[in-house]
Structures are given as structure tokens and as C-alpha cells.
Amino acid sequence: MTKKIARERNLSHFVKDMSGVASVYQLMSLLKNEIKAFKTVENPLLAYAQSQNELHLLFYQGSKIIKKDVPGVWPQQAKIRLNNIQDSQFLANVFGRPFGKLLTIPLQLKRKSSNDQLLVSAILFFEHALVGDRLVEFTEFIGDRLQSISIVLDRLLLENDLNEAALLWEQTFDGLQDPIVIFDSEAQILRANKSFTENLQNVKSKDLFEKTLKVNNKIYEIRSYPIITGENQSPSNIINHYIDVTLAQRLKKQMIQNEKMAALGNMAGNIAHELNNPLTGIRSLAQVLIRKASPGTDIFADLHEVEMAAERCQVIIKNLLEFSSDKLENQKVLISINDIVQRTLPLLKTLIFQFELQLKLTEKNCFVLVEPHLMQQVVFNIIKNAAQAMGNSGVLTVKTEVYKKGGANEVQLIISDTGGGIDPSIRDQIFDFFFTTKSTGEGTGLGLSMSKNIVEKFAGNIIVNSELNIGSEFIITLPQAKAAVG
């Protein structure tokens, strides 16, 4: 009687201890402790299924618990067995040593692994040297505890699954590039992903429910998705997705700008052609009349003015026509940017002689695919601007360089001056059509806008850095072209 009570007491202790177990390792060590009384029983071995052809094996190496993933055929019999040859062979294969007497105890788990065909989802192995009553006693001892062990293992594996699922969910949630928030029905934030924390953490909560959101130069479109879980129709949660449309908007803006430019170019071309004839007439007739007028008279001077004005118009129209023409685009050739610079500088002699010219041309391959005359026009325009910005003296630097960007190389032409700089208030406008700070006759407001357009035609870009009273630098970047070898 007392024996039975003791047995019950021990068992309830074990069950209680087991309920606090938080990992399979703890389970192992508890089990090891529990069977200490059976001196000839080795430390337990626990195997549980991962799939039909793989399982996790936990065993002791000295006092350490080792977890090993073992490929191989899973012993599938569901009954308790003693000295089963298949089981011994299975373990012998895993550990590379013969196994002695072996007690195999399958555990029936409720948890279904991804493979439902498994008859047995976990097994306890005990290597032992027990005989007779002692063996029966041990089998009963383990049998008493079997249900508790199964329940705990079930729970641990389920928790493990849940943790993995939670981790996967969290990683997915945080991995999304757009900010995403889950609100409760009171519009309080329940969960926010990493992108939200990084980008929208400090946004006022009422702004989080607008249609669009502008934060730190980024534009977000907001989509709200209510989650209705219960029977009643009001949502229990709201998911807000903040779609980063910054790039899309910029591209759209650029597209509209490009279309505008194309339309403008087209129109400019037509107008230019229409204006050409009357303008030529005006200039030619002025030239004819000047010959008839006596030098020194008002009529002579006035006619001269008319002729000059007509000439100016012709130059503008010529530029416009070149600019709107598509034909030149197809005359791209391989040429080094240094060559373009060298060809252009002589044309600027009279404009830049009073400045200190610093020419720093790269020796690397700086070939680009452009239409040389258009590119020369760009260089001409920008150097002319630099000269005009400096007035009587200053340092004009013309530099070429080759940079690696991504997998490709880029060729840069940097033209900098020590002039007055560009006022920040107009810096955004300098590439606009007909924008000029120069007085009438000095500039048409086409130079930079055309330069930008030309560079973009050759897949490049042009940017400006400028500081008031220090100077400006224009950086033209073009894709490097492979120079023909030999």
C-alpha cells in the first residue's frame, strides 16, 4: 500500500515538474534525473519526426545534450519493444557503435507534422542492462510517465511551430519596404513594421489616416484595409499600407516634362521655319538698304540696328531648329570627352583669355557616344556662362574624370568657375526654357535648357552645384562607351 502511495506521489511530482518544462533539452534532463534510480539504464535518447526521411535526435554526450538531424528511415512500429534489431541497427548507424539491450518506447503525439503518414512521431530509446523484475519495473515506471511526456513534447513542438510561424510573420512584416501599421478599433497602433518605425514614427496620428502623406521628401499614398473578424460588421482592426510613390511621382513629373519639352520642341521647330523667311527678308532688305544709305546718317545707324536684330533672331531660330531636330540624334559617334573639350576651347578663346584656365583631363578611357557638335554646343554654353559669371578675372576649371557606378563606368565633365554663384531662389529654374538672368542680347534663355536636353538625349545628366560668392560647378555625366581597340 505504501509502495503504491509512494509511486503515485513520485508520479505526480514528475507530472508537475514536466508541466514547467520549456524546451526539449529540459525535458531530456528531467527524464535523465527521473531514471537515476535505475543504475543500469543509460541516459535517454529522444527522437522526433521532422519528415518521413528525417528526424531530430537528442542524446547525451557526457553531460551535454546534443541535437542532431538525422536522415534515414524512421522506425515506424507503434508498439513498445525490447531489443528490436531494426532499432538497434538504426541507432548503430547513427552513432557508429553497436547498441546493447534496447527498450524502444514510441510516443503518440497529437501534433501532426507536415507529413501525416507517419505512424509514430516520437520515440524514446533506453539502452540498459536490466533483467527480470527490474526490467518490468522500469517498463512500468516509464509507462506511468508516458502520457505526461507525450503531452509535454506535443506542447513543446507546437510552441516551436508557433514560434517559427511568428518569426516568419515578423520577418515578412518587417521585410516589406513600405510602411505598414495595424491599428486597433480605437486607432491606436498595435503593430508597426520596421519601415514604419524608420520613416513614419514621428508623424502625427491624424495624418496617418489622410489620403497621402509627405514626410522627409517622400510621398506616400495611403491604403486602408479594415479587418472584420467578428459577427458584427464593424472592423476590429485596420491595416494601413503607406505606399511610397516618391519615385513614381518623380517619373510621372519627368514624363510630363519630357512630353512638354517634345511638344515645345515640335512647336518651336514649326514656328522657327515659319519665321525664317520673313526674317531673312528683313535682314536682306536691311542689308540692301544699308548700302544705299550714307554712313553716319540716322537711317544708316537705324538700318544697322534692324539688321543686327534680325541676325539675333536668326541665331535663336537656328538654335531652336537644331534643338528640335531629331536627325542629329542619329549621328552619334564614339568620341572622347577630352576631344570635345579640346575642340571647343579654341572657339572660346576671346571669351576666356582673361581667366586662369585649369585643364585637368583624365587619362582613362573617357569615350562617349554623342553627336560631337551638339556636345560641343553644351560645353560652349556652359563655359560661356562660367566666363560671364566671373566677369574680369577668376579661375575656370575644366576637368574630366571616369567613375565606376554599379557595373558600368561613367564619364564626367566638370566645369567650374569662381564667379558669383547662382542664387538659391533661381537654382531650380536655370534649366528652364527662356529663363535667363542676362540682359537682352546677351542671352536667350536657351543655352542651359538646350544643354540639358542634349545631354539627356545621350543618356546623360547635368547637375549644378553652386555657392553664392564662391562659384558654380556644372557636372555633366555620360555613360562611358567602349572605345574601339587598335
Partner: protein
């Protein structure tokens, strides 16, 4: 010399007429190809300045219909210098090509006079 100017643009005609007349040449003008051909037959000019793009007959069409050209010189003019050039003008049977717009009207007169001298 006798100069015929065929161009549909009045201001171009006018300035060319003035410039040539300034140098003492006899100038005829026509605002289209048909009239141009009539004057050609009636006056037998030494040189024709012929616009390429005109309503009705184009410059090359006019050129095609000129008979008994003799030593007369023909200059084609066009604002579409991209599509026309001296080589093309020569192929069409003209002696010279002058792109429009003119930057110096007297240079045009000079070119025409030079053509006559060469002969």
C-alpha cells in the same frame, strides 16, 4: 546679266531683286514655278535662283521642265539644308545650292556672279 528669281516668299524675292538690281543686273521675278517657266521662255535669263519648296511646281520640277538651257546657270535654294545640299543639287541638274536663311544677301549675288564668270 539677266537674273530670274522664282520663290513664293515675297520678302525673299524682294530682297534678292533689290540686291541684284543694286549691282546693275536685270532682274525678273516669279512667285511660282509656272510663271517662272513662262519668263524663262520669254526672257532667256543667264541665271535662275530657284526655291525648292513651293506650292504648285517645286524647284526640281521646274528644273526638269526647262528646255534649251544653253549656258544658263541654275541655283537651287532651300531652308531644308539637311535634306538638300550641293551634291543633291548637282544631281538634280543645278549648278549651285544656297541654304536659307541668307546671312548676307550680297554674298548670294557674289555667288551668282562667280558662277557666270567661271563660264
Amino acid at each position: 546679266m539677266k537674273v530670274l528669281i522664282v520663290d513664293d516668299e515675297p520678302l525673299i524675292r524682294r530682297s534678292l531683286v533689290r540686291a541684284f538690281a543694286n549691282y546693275g543686273h536685270v532682274v525678273f521675278e516669279a512667285d511660282d514655278g509656272v510663271k517662272g517657266l513662262e519668263i524663262w521662255q520669254a526672257e532667256a535669263p543667264d541665271i535662275i535662283l530657284l526655291d525648292i519648296l513651293m506650292p504648285g511646281l517645286t524647284g526640281p520640277q521646274v528644273l526638269d521642265q526647262i528646255e534649251n538651257r544653253g549656258n544658263a546657270k541654275i541655283i537651287l535654294m532651300s531652308a531644308y539644308a539637311g535634306e538638300y545640299n550641293l551634291k543633291k543639287a548637282n544631281e538634280l541638274g543645278a549648278d549651285m545650292f544656297i541654304p536659307k536663311p541668307f546671312t548676307d544677301i550680297f554674298a548670294v549675288v557674289q555667288i551668282a556672279e562667280n558662277l557666270m564668270v567661271v563660264n
